[in-house]
């Protein structure tokens, strides 16, 4: 099947948002999506964007049964390693179920690698859930390595009231 991979524009936000919701619904956690389409537009397409995105598109004749031709996306941003410098972080990678198995996911990831290298990055980082054996095996076969296992690193998060309390410097003992 023919497809193209290209950099996303403001007009793509509608479809990116649709696919974010599809992925969340599939994982049965759509109530966890707190942002709206306009947040994506503001945060991704203003002067200092917080993320970058790329889209996978198919020609008219391969539109989905709901009439969509934008069938996959990846969302990434530039990050920094205090050891090695510029890096790129792949936050989301998604292809609609009926378009999987055609190399679209791999092509999206390859595009991120190209864009990252062009921007002077030395590494690409991303997170995988430990039950997702198929994805883990795929990434390992591509030469990736598991930092969590390899270096015993734990990914931590501080948000909401905890973040605000931390900002105030609330005593905790």
């Amino acid at each position: 099947m023919d497809y193209t991979i290209r950099v996303a524009t403001l007009e793509d936000c509608k479809d990116i948002y649709r696919m974010i919701m599809e992925l969340a619904k599939h994982e049965k956690v759509s109530d966890q999506v707190k942002i709206a389409q306009r947040d994506l537009e503001q945060d991704g397409f203003s002067k200092n964007p917080f993320f970058q995105s790329i889209i996978a598109e198919v020609p008219e004749q391969h539109r989905s049964k709901d009439g969509h031709s934008k069938v996959g996306y990846a969302l990434y941003f530039f990050a920094y390693s205090s050891w090695k410098g510029r890096s790129v972080y792949m936050e989301d990678l998604y292809v609609m179920p009926e378009y999987r198995g055609k190399g679209i996911g791999k092509a999206l990831m390859s595009k991120i690698a190209q864009l990252g290298l062009a921007a002077g990055c030395n590494q690409l980082n991303f997170a995988v859930l430990n039950w997702n054996k198929e994805s883990m095996d795929f990434y390992l076969s591509q030469g990736c390595w598991d930092v969590t296992t390899g270096l015993d690193y734990h990914c931590m998060r501080c948000e909401g009231p905890a973040l605000e309390a931390l900002a105030r410097g609330d005593p905790k003992n």
Partner: protein, 167 residues
């Protein structure tokens, strides 16, 4: 007189930033992994689109370190994005020289930076063996996503990036 001041990093801080990065890496027994140079730090942090931001902690002259440094700590961070909750702040490095610890140096500044920039959360990584740090953050409400949700952080190095981008 205040014990220390916190301020945004300036280009002149680059040598101290690299010195402190290496000190922290040494503490993590990873010193040889630091390949970043002062030139890269300058380019990447103080150009038109910075890849990172830094806060420096400085003490007055009369509290200089035994090696003569007044810059005694730093925090390096950048902004990231979670497509479900929006803007996040990622704390890449956070270090205070041993003899100046215990003054709650950076925590408030970084965390209020996150709140002021309307970030929905802050992410960072802690090594499993660093129990004091894990406990410090857990007491303040941080969640261990690797443990609770099963997230594993992966990395692809340049050699494989090149192979991947050529496919």
């Amino acid at each position: 007189m205040a014990n220390f001041i916190l301020r945004k990093a300036e280009p002149r801080d680059v040598p101290d930033i690299l010195r402190l990065i290496k000190e922290l890496a040494k503490f993590e027994e990873m010193e040889e992994q630091v390949v970043l140079t002062e030139t890269e730090l300058l380019q990447d942090g103080f150009g038109e689109q910075p890849f990172y931001h830094c806060i420096m902690a400085e003490v007055p002259e009369d509290r200089r370190s035994s090696d003569g440094h007044t810059v005694v700590g730093f925090a390096m961070y950048y902004f990231t994005y979670d497509p479900w909750i929006g803007k996040m702040l990622y704390l890449e490095d956070f270090y205070v020289m041993k003899e100046y610890r215990g003054m709650a140096v950076h925590t408030q500044y970084i965390h209020s930076t996150a709140v002021k920039s309307r970030c929905s959360g802050m992410h960072f990584i802690v090594a499993e063996w660093n129990k004091p740090s894990i406990d410090f953050y857990k007491r303040r409400g941080a969640s261990d996503l690797s443990h609770e949700e099963g997230w594993r952080l992966f990395e692809i190095d340049k050699e494989y990036l090149l192979k991947m981008s050529a496919k």
